[in-house]
Symmetry: C2
Subunit: 203 residues, 2 copies
Amino acid sequence: MSVLHGPVRGVRRDDPREDTRARIEQAALELFTAAGFEQVTIEEIAAAAGTSRRTFFRSVGSKADAVWGDFDGHVDRLATLLERSGDDVPVLTAVLAAYVEVNDYAPEDLPVLRQRMRLILTEPALQAHSQLRYADVDRVVAGYVARRGGESPTALVPRLVATATRAAATTAFEAWLSGAAPSLADALRTAFGQLAEGFPGLR
Amino acid sequence: MSVLHGPVRGVRRDDPREDTRARIEQAALELFTAAGFEQVTIEEIAAAAGTSRRTFFRSVGSKADAVWGDFDGHVDRLATLLERSGDDVPVLTAVLAAYVEVNDYAPEDLPVLRQRMRLILTEPALQAHSQLRYADVDRVVAGYVARRGGESPTALVPRLVATATRAAATTAFEAWLSGAAPSLADALRTAFGQLAEGFPGLR
DNA sequence: GTTGCTGGTGGCACCGGGTGCCCCTACGGT
DNA sequence: ACCGTAGGGGCACCCGGTGCCACCAGCAAC
């Protein structure tokens, strides 16, 4: 699951609030990458962004959010994509397609995405925080699977499909990050393919 | 993935250190269940256990560890079970069997297990922390799958099998907790079955 | 009995993330 | 000139977590 926010997040183009937020996120990303997430204090980030500790918390909410950015927007996009997918396409295929489209970034955005995902997947504190974000994603996917299958969103199969596909997505991200996969979309397709086949050769 | 520690954890039977630890964990569990994880402070737990804040941290390490208990021991048991499983049994079957055996509790231990898992699966702070524990489990399973398949533990398939089976295990735990499954072993078998079949009907 | 060591403990100061509250300042409308 | 409002800074506080030292059993050696 990725992290970059779309081109337009706020309402106005020169929103001063969004401006300081962007400055803070950028400063944070650089410092985290250089020195490690836990080694950098909020005060240092604020200083690097030319603002105060208090403003940091007001604009980004928490230290982890400085890395995650506007993830809620991505979850919303995922939900919209699933809602709009036709009922004729198989469930797993629809989920895969939604994951692929949500994570379709412009080439110039890929370096920053790498930076963020690298932090999220390697720094323990961010790894822990990720579970909370994943839970949001899982709720969306489970809801979709439940709707398609005429089941409750809390039934075993919808939950299982949601967590398993999300596990596949994060594994695909790891593979892409390590350079083992040519592209994110490719890694996602490979992982979902294995999942849908029930891991042939391991049974 | 469960949490209860085995009958003997320490070296001596009347280890005073183990004794205060057990008292603290019990007090913490009761308070967390009654008031919620974040609402209870370390000082309150220490007071309820008849000890001090400093001793709390010395004996249980962190607030989350008061709920998780000796999880490392479970990971070790899982690793041992996988090591000893024969090479003739299919990989997924071996992983399922290991999960089932690791989570085979005596009936009298089930209430406490429910209490702990309920907190871990519902309290956001503990949910976040769980990802770090799951990562340990995933490393063990990925290592086993890699060995059986002659691959690298960091290759896509071993990682994917590890995260997907663990996702199945946690989903099974949720189903068991909510009362939808008669037993933990049953829920695990159902979830692994779905996973191994590649979710028939959704493709 | 005194000495000395050791392990479990408590107290204390400190750090860092996070929040509530108040004040200041710049800006736009009237 | 007069406001209202929004973004920002400062400050005090809470809480989880750690390092350090001081205390006090118990126990071995002399």
